[in-house]
């Protein structure tokens, strides 16, 4: 700070920790930004986050760097990204934290690009590519009593093959917001965040009591696909077909080596697999409620 400028409250910095399983992101940033960041990450259940994390990654956000009015984010002291747009800062920081969490946790957990919920002590994994309706389905399932583990990254302990929470808020896109608004009226008034690709997303914090009380065994693998106006069906799928579709949705099978692929195969051996063609959200929920009622 040069002596010719008046001190600005925005230049003050503070730090907060975001914990996801054994990963900790230490974020140093102006307090106002930290408050917004803190509000966009749910507090994970205490049993899922050890006191001493496996890995800590430090992010620092500086204002007026590299130009006046700009924001610069550094990871472990190395500049990562800069922008003159205030509304891009939180989505990018949020993305950077989740990316670092996936990188670090992928060395320890089997991480799948999937929603993950549980009911009656049985885990249900919803693996799918982006745009398949994972978040919409996950958010709707929470409203009918399912427990929450993640809307996008299913984390599985390789040894026990049980699901643990990858604590993040649900990111609802425009299409999902339309059908979720009756279930989450706050989505009507909440302000969207703008991703770098220009897409608007609404952050939805899971209720504090939505977490399961312990790791959940994977009982069901359901591959969802949003199919507008199609008849909603839930069809059994062979485990090999499920594996063929799960492998491309894995963040860490290669990172974990043989242990990762073995864990994935073993996880499927004890799971029932289905393909869900979701043309109607209510019908999809009914089918999943019937499935998990047994």
């Amino acid at each position: 700070m040069t002596s010719s400028r008046a001190p600005r409250a925005a230049w003050e910095t503070a730090a907060c920790d975001i914990n996801v399983l054994d990963f900790r992101a230490r974020v140093i940033a102006p307090p106002a930004l930290l408050r917004e960041l803190r509000a966009s990450f749910p507090e994970p259940p205490a049993w899922s986050t050890p006191a001493a994390p496996l890995a800590t990654t430090t992010f620092q956000l500086q204002i007026d760097t590299p130009h006046p009015g700009w924001y610069e984010l550094a990871r472990e002291g190395l500049p990562l990204w800069a922008s003159g747009q205030r509304d891009e800062v939180l989505p990018y920081l949020d993305w950077a934290i989740n990316t670092a969490a996936v990188e670090r946790l992928g060395q320890r957990y089997l991480l799948l690009h999937a929603g993950a919920v549980a009911r009656g002590g049985q885990g249900l994994v919803l693996p799918a590519a982006s745009g398949s309706g994972k978040t919409t389905l996950t958010a709707a399932l929470l409203k009918v009593g399912f427990r929450y583990l993640s809307d996008e990254v299913a984390a599985v302990e390789p040894a026990s093959r049980r699901l643990v929470p990858f604590a993040k808020s649900l990111r609802v896109k425009q299409g999902g917001r339309r059908v979720l608004t009756p279930r989450y009226p706050d989505l009507t008034s909440s302000v969207p965040r703008r991703r770098l690709n220009g897409e608007s997303v609404w952050y939805l914090l899971p209720p504090a009591n939505a977490w399961p009380s312990e790791p959940m065994p994977v009982r069901y693998v359901v591959l969802p696909e949003y199919m507008p106006r199609a008849r909603t069906t839930l069809v059994p799928l062979s485990r090999s077909a499920a594996l063929a579709r799960l492998l491309p949705q894995s963040f860490s099978v290669c990172t974990l080596g043989a242990g990762g692929s073995d864990a994935l195969v073993e996880m499927l051996r004890t799971a029932d697999c289905y393909a869900l063609a979701a043309g109607d959200l209510d019908q999809a929920l009914d089918l999943l409620l019937q499935l998990t009622a047994t």
């Binding site: 062979s238 485990r239 090999s240 077909a241 594996l243 063929a244 579709r245 492998l247 491309p248 290669c254 692929s261 994935l264 195969v265 499927l268 051996r269 393909a275």
Partner: protein, 113 residues
């Protein structure tokens, strides 16, 4: 015959498939490519090529042929083993082996030792 199957490839069709002319010599000694991992599940075998990211599913017969392709057996000896196991004539078995090995070779999953 290789068939696209919702994001993966299904290899090993049943009777009635159009059989292309065999291009793999009977003396060929097929060997798994090092970038391929195989996962047996139920009666099928899932192959994942880490180099291309492609995933393939072999049926029970295809899985048996894959297992026999160890770099020391010729396509002819694989066909003899298949003939004995599944009660096929040697000619039928050799045609099946050649077709599948050809598909797998083109997919980059097998190479000649």
């Amino acid at each position: 015959m290789v068939v696209q199957d919702e994001g993966s490839h299904r290899i090993g069709g049943g009777a009635g498939d159009e059989v292309p002319p065999p291009r793999v010599p009977a003396s060929w000694k097929p060997l798994h490519s090092p970038s391929v991992s195989a996962f047996p599940l139920d009666d099928e075998l899932v192959l994942h090529d880490s180099r291309s990211g492609e995933v393939y599913v072999l049926n029970r017969t295809g899985a048996r042929i894959w297992t026999l392709c160890d770099g020391s057996s010729t396509a002819a000896s694989v066909a003899q083993a298949m003939s004995a196991t599944f009660g096929l004539s040697y000619e039928e078995a050799l045609a099946d082996v050649r077709e599948l090995v050809d598909d797998l070779r083109h997919a980059g999953l097998l190479r000649n030792d």
